[in-house]
Symmetry: C2
Subunit: 547 residues, 2 copies
């Protein structure tokens, strides 16, 4: 007779061993390491939340203190690997295998750890791909999560940074796993229930509030004229032409420039109400002027952003706000929104090759891709139409027809030379060298060229939808690659022919005077301007305050 309840029995066994360290569900901060030592087993799949922003940092610290002789070979399955402690787990021999989506500050450390053989890399996922695997073949045995507060029954209030938490907890709790939450405070009653207590096994009041990274704040003061020019081209050459109402902006100064130009240049172009009304977007402070100017109808958020909570709470008609008065974010839902309900994704990258493949991964820095592969892919399952989507699809197919699908607009904005004057356009992505080194059968690519519709540089826009073969794609890319080696090696005749067909468009082809591209065009030129636009509701973190 097969035993069909092994997981449940194992769970009960662990809970029993942990019991001496808890009163009900409540664990004292000093007892957490001992508790972890009893509820975790070597070889477990473990999620140490690890979101895009919010970090279960206290639990991470406690986990680094378990005895590697007892607990080792953990398989870490979490979207964000951003704290030094996340890497320490591998260095100390507590964890061995890694499946993740995004690093960032740890991108260099991950590359070094892989090099040393300290980390066995599963895969670099897009967020909802990793979440999807939580329900199929990467279900966590134990999840360590973070909340703003908890009551003694384990009901959790995540506040504006709900992010990944419900998705992590559901997978763990309903597969006989163990869920442990750190909370900033344990209270009698939570302001709202983001996670029901019956999905949570243990709670601990952390000595300090969980760490949140202000990831999406771009200071308008740092926006350059080159980025303003690119933003103008994007607005006139893409937004005005396709009129995407529903969209996502990635992180970066070029898209921040677009946000800051909506109430000025966008207004001149008569676009208010016609484009960019509905967003799947993190709470970018640089969108405040557009919101206040009446451009935006609704925004759903992946997570929150430090300093934006008060502003969003005061704008419930725009944001998703709970009855407690604060934002409800949800990364799974917002990524779904970006995949299936948006007509455009526009974002930055580090490198683009001659087929339009792009990557931010190099042998020295394994940054992960976060949501970009998902948001920047054409959803073949989409069945509803919009004008923007159909227009893109008809351009790609060379005509309309009852069986001609639309296409998502996937726009990559990149200056021809990046940090340290490194060319953004390359014959071969650096990530291919990494794949060779690590023996990966597929190179880490952020967005594949067949999904990219437009590339915007300071030299112009390349419309890949209108390219009819790989050679045209290559010349269209070379044609906007400026003075990089890739750009200099263009076939000038072919590039001019593509320009004649509107595949490549220069600022002058769009009626844009580069001299007009100056900082006076920005609706806000500093963080302080954003605070003013927000009527004092936006409270930027101190590192962005310079007045």
């Amino acid at each position: 007779m097969r035993d069909w309840t092994k997981q449940r029995t194992e769970r009960a066994r662990r809970l029993e061993q942990a019991a001496p360290f808890a009163t009900g569900k409540v664990v004292k901060a000093d007892d957490v390491t001992a508790l972890l030592q009893r509820v975790i087993r070597s070889g477990d799949r473990l999620c140490l939340e690890g979101d895009n922003q919010k970090q279960a940092d206290f639990l991470a610290r406690c986990l680094t203190r378990v005895d590697p002789a007892t607990i080792h070979d953990l398989h870490i399955v979490q979207s964000g690997l951003v704290l030094p402690e996340h890497l320490d787990l591998f260095r100390l021999g507590i964890a061995r295998k890694l499946d993740f989506s995004y690093s960032g500050p740890q991108s260099g450390a991950i590359a070094r750890a892989l090099d040393k053989g300290n980390i066995e890399l599963g895969a670099i996922h897009t967020y909802i791909e990793l979440f999807a695997r939580y329900y199929v073949d990467l279900t966590p045995n134990v999840s360590l999560i973070a909340a703003v507060c908890a009551d003694r029954e384990g009901n959790l209030y995540t506040g504006p940074n709900t992010e990944d938490t419900p998705t992590i907890v559901e997978a763990t709790a309903y597969k006989s796993g163990i869920v442990i939450a750190q909370a900033n405070r344990i209270v009698d009653k939570v302001p709202r229930v983001d996670i029901p207590g019956d999905q949570v096994d243990f709670i601990v009041e952390a000595p300090e509030p969980f760490y949140v990274e202000p990831l999406f704040t771009r200071d308008p003061a740092a926006v350059t004229e080159s980025q303003i020019l690119m933003a103008m081209m994007a607005l006139k050459g893409i937004y005005a032409e396709y009129q995407p109402k529903r969209l996502n902006h990635g992180i970066g100064f070029a898209t921040a420039a677009i946000e800051l130009l909506l109430p000025t240049y966008g207004e001149q172009l008569g676009m208010r109400g016609k484009v960019a009304t509905h967003w799947a977007l993190n709470p970018h402070p640089t969108l405040i002027p557009a919101i206040e100017s009446g451009w935006v109808e609704q925004i759903h958020c992946f997570g929150s952003e430090v300093g934006m909570d008060g502003y969003m709470s005061a704008r419930p008609d725009i944001y998703f706000i709970g009855k407690d008065g604060t934002l409800r974010s949800n990364r799974l839902l917002c990524q779904n929104a970006g995949l299936y309900a948006c007509d455009m994704f526009i974002g930055a990258t580090l490198q683009i090759d001659l087929a339009g493949n792009s990557s931010t991964v190099t042998p020295d820095r394994i940054a992960g891709f976060g949501g970009a592969p998902n948001m920047g892919s054409d959803a073949h399952g989409r069945r509803h139409v919009s004008e923007a989507w159909l227009k893109a699809g008809h351009e790609a197919a060379g005509g309309a027809g009852p069986l001609v699908r639309g296409r998502k607009l996937v726009v990559q904005m990149v200056e021809t030379f990046g940090e340290g004057m490194k060319p953004a356009f390359v014959e071969e992505l650096d990530s291919i060298a990494l794949a060779r080194k690590l023996g990966m059968p597929l190179s880490p690519v952020m967005i594949f060229g067949d999904d990219v519709t437009h590339i915007v540089t300071e030299e112009g826009i390349a419309n890949l939808l209108l390219c009819r073969d790989a050679d045209e794609v290559e010349q269209a890319i070379r044609g906007v690659a400026g003075y990089t080696p890739v750009g200099l090696a263009r076939d000038r005749k072919k590039v001019e022919e593509l320009r004649g067909r509107g595949v490549i468009r220069r600022p002058e082809d769009l009626g844009i005077d580069p001299l007009q591209a100056n900082r006076n065009l920005l609706a806000a030129r500093s963080i302080r301007d954003l605070v003013t636009w927000s009527d004092g509701l936006y409270a930027p973190p101190s590192k962005f305050r310079n007045w």
Copy 2:
């Protein structure tokens, strides 16, 4: 000064007007229509849950009784439109516009209502596409949902049929909408909290338990030898060759036959443990023999299935089960699992054209597609590799390489002649005529040909991955289309050439003797056999009991 809290004010106004009909959150069944009349406004977007299986049928009935002079022009946004009452709303002039995913029993009635102009059709979505739009441009103002029980604070227990409920409620509750739940019982304490009470405004104890449709039960007694032959070809020609471990099966007798052959024919082929170990799947009773024979490691479910609850509760190592001991399903999560974490989707269709486009929509029957467009599409955002996925991608590309993505296996199983001897293979999909009639810019297509990798009929398997141009795709399809006009019009020489290359494979090419394809090969030959396999835990609904 712009008012940024209009939605919240409107919500408060409605709740105030509804107050006389509720004691706290509890509404008497007799008062529901009066309450609805006060909380709903003409033009509202309304979700009347309306899942794949579970139905808020009592609330649906109450809604048909509101005064159309007061409440009209509702925009219905719900995944399933399956009850007569759903259609009545349009007939009575209460609702006008419709965005949905699946009908089924109402597919004929929807077609007639569209014809009469009673329904303004938004779009036919795949499930998570509609859910995604709940967070972008189709956010419900009011949602009417169904639960097994509720406590007086509004905490809901959905039982095994959680399905769409969390996704609907989150969109509505966090955008100042109103959520009303019918519950089979109001209790002091719910067995587990599927929906926290602070997201629910009103609860009513319905006179009868909500209706659930047994949608996924296929009686093994009705499996034909032709379907068994197709299942054998699929197992030997696709499962054994690509070895997909993670997969979804659609509904239908051919895929039920595969499930019933795993412990017999699959065992002969030595495939146990090598394929089909992890599933995103509804609780198909026909999978019981494979589960009991040790084929299956884990299953995540979109919804539940009538009669399967006791069996699943006793198999918590396989299914996702709550601490209350019953299944937790979740359509959003399971569709994500199907999209991003599965290597294969295999399902049936009604019509396939010469490019491999398939549809179940005809001018007379608008059935919707449910999850098929999502599950049956290649996710371009996927970044993790598996052997099955890579093999398919390399076949399509004609080779491997660091930039050659994998492909999802998307298999369509169809007998060459369907119900009433209607050919399944057609020169033009019937849905194109519908698109013309209704002026739709895009024909309703379930799965587009560019995502289909294999077509299996009783004549053979066509591997579209190996086709190098549209003409080869056409001949590969004609080559398995049997005696249909499409099949008869094949270019025999070309078809033989494709067969020589393994693009088309006949039973004999696979070493399958059609005479072996008989019902003795099925692990269960009746519903009663399934009950026996389940050790008496499976409790089939009475309509399937004939002993």
